[in-house]
């Protein structure tokens, strides 16, 4: 099964995988080869990718994504998102700082536009931190 993760900044992933767990509006779904055709909306959250059937859970690759669209046709999973970060690329300290900045921005927002932007930033950095956290716990084990 082919997984394509496409963001505004380019294609992040384009490879063969065994299983993908995706955060959708209706909850998390796990997708295996020959999944029934489905088009759905992704929400801000974590994508987990199992490359080979024999890979254990803690070898799954993690991506933090913002909202987007998912298209599944059995042989291919196409994920269109605004932004995606691969777990090893996330610097936890930086994300923590960015989250604090975003929270401050949310509290000080004077208009709707600023508030919306701040909310999106908060969500985004929360997910990145969550991914970084998951990644760290795995390494410890």
């Amino acid at each position: 099964m082919n997984l394509r993760l496409v963001t505004l900044a380019g294609t992040k992933v384009d490879e063969e995988v065994y299983e993908v767990i995706l955060p959708t509006e209706d909850g998390e779904i796990g997708v295996f080869p020959d999944h029934e055709p489905l088009v759905t909306l992704a929400k801000t959250g974590v994508i987990q990718v199992r490359k080979a059937k024999t890979d254990p859970d803690d070898r799954m690759e993690l991506f933090a994504i913002s909202g987007g669209v998912i298209e599944i046709d059995g042989q291919q999973v196409k994920v269109l998102v605004d932004e995606a970060d691969h777990a090893p690329d996330i610097v936890e300290a930086e994300s923590q700082k960015a989250l604090e900045r975003a929270l401050k921005m949310r509290d000080e927002a004077t208009n709707q536009v600023e508030l919306e932007k701040a909310h999106q930033l908060v969500d985004r950095h929360m997910v990145r931190l969550k991914v970084a956290d998951l990644q760290r716990h795995r390494r410890r084990r």
């Binding site: 380019g10 209706d26 055709p37 489905l38 669209v69 298209e71 599944i72 932004e83 999106q120």
Partner: protein, 288 residues
């Protein structure tokens, strides 16, 4: 004729100007390369979104979606993309000229125009115009606009269109054709248009969750967003490449100027020496 000392001073000042313009040329060149890469990368996303959209269109689901509604244009929204800084040749002038033409054409056709400006040059320009309705100004966007920065612009544009307050949304930006050619372009982003592509059987039978409408909404929103984003990246790449060319010309001109001034100074020096010799030999002759 200026004195040697004056010429020396001018040469020195032109030389330092040349150093600055050369540095700016180098900076613009490296920024252009990065902007160009980003501009190419986004094409993937736009293509993928387009494909999805035509899948959905194949099912006839787009027909009564508000963002696809084609109405007679009585009022339109213009998004004008310029740079924050000048010294980029005709970059901003071209865009603003195009914008002014559009506004005039609208006035003649009795169409109301609203404007959202992106970039400080556009907001400064529109501030001086009379009878212009400004919906918003976005100055100092970061060098590489993140997806989240788009949402505010996108939300304003789609809301205005959805509520019927405007009947069309156009973007005026500089299309990055190649590093040598950039043209001021107008692109209509709403009502949403799309290109038909082949639809596979499996997608035709696909289920939509939570609902077809909700999915369509998500795709349209993203596609329109991607188009604005693409326009921003194009504008950015164009800006840097035009600045690079402008600064290259400035550097070349400075080099020519330095040559001319050096020649003038050498002539002045030679003239001074000749004069001095003439005076000495004249003096010697008089003594003899």
């Amino acid at each position: 004729m200026p004195s040697q000392r004056q010429l020396k001073g001018r040469i020195r000042s032109v030389k330092s100007t040349k150093q600055i313009t050369r540095a700016m040329q180098m900076v613009a060149a490296s920024k252009m390369r990065r902007a160009q890469e980003a501009q190419k990368a986004t094409a993937d996303y736009t293509d993928a979104a387009n494909e999805l959209l035509s899948h959905l269109a194949g099912q006839g689901t787009t027909d009564d979606h508000p963002l696809f509604a084609v109405r007679e244009v009585k009022k339109r929204l213009l998004l004008v993309i310029t740079s924050d800084k000048g010294l980029a040749g005709a970059y901003n002038a071209n865009i603003l000229k195009r914008y002014l033409n559009e506004v005039r054409a609208d006035q003649q056709a009795d169409i109301e125009t609203e404007t959202i400006t992106i970039g400080r040059k556009a907001s400064q320009f529109t501030a001086r115009l009379k009878d212009i309705q400004i919906r918003g100004t976005y100055d100092d966007m970061s060098e590489e606009p993140e997806g989240s920065e788009l949402h505010a612009i996108l939300a304003t544009a789609t809301d205005l269109f959805r509520t019927g307050e405007v009947d069309a949304v156009d973007v005026i930006y500089t299309d990055f054709v190649s590093s040598l050619t950039q043209t001021a372009t107008l692109q209509r982003i709403l009502p949403a248009g799309y290109t038909e592509t082949e639809i596979s059987q499996s997608v035709r039978n696909a289920k939509y969750e939570p609902s077809t409408d909700a999915v369509l909404e998500g795709v349209v929103y993203r596609l329109v967003g991607a188009q604005i984003y693409q326009a921003l990246l194009d504008a950015r790449a164009s800006e840097h490449s035009m600045r690079m060319v402008a600064m290259k010309n400035a550097t070349d001109n400075a080099t020519d100027l330095i040559d001319d001034l050096t020649l003038a100074m050498n002539k002045a020096r030679q003239a001074a020496i000749t004069q001095e010799l003439a005076e000495i030999s004249g003096g010697a002759e008089a003594m003899a």
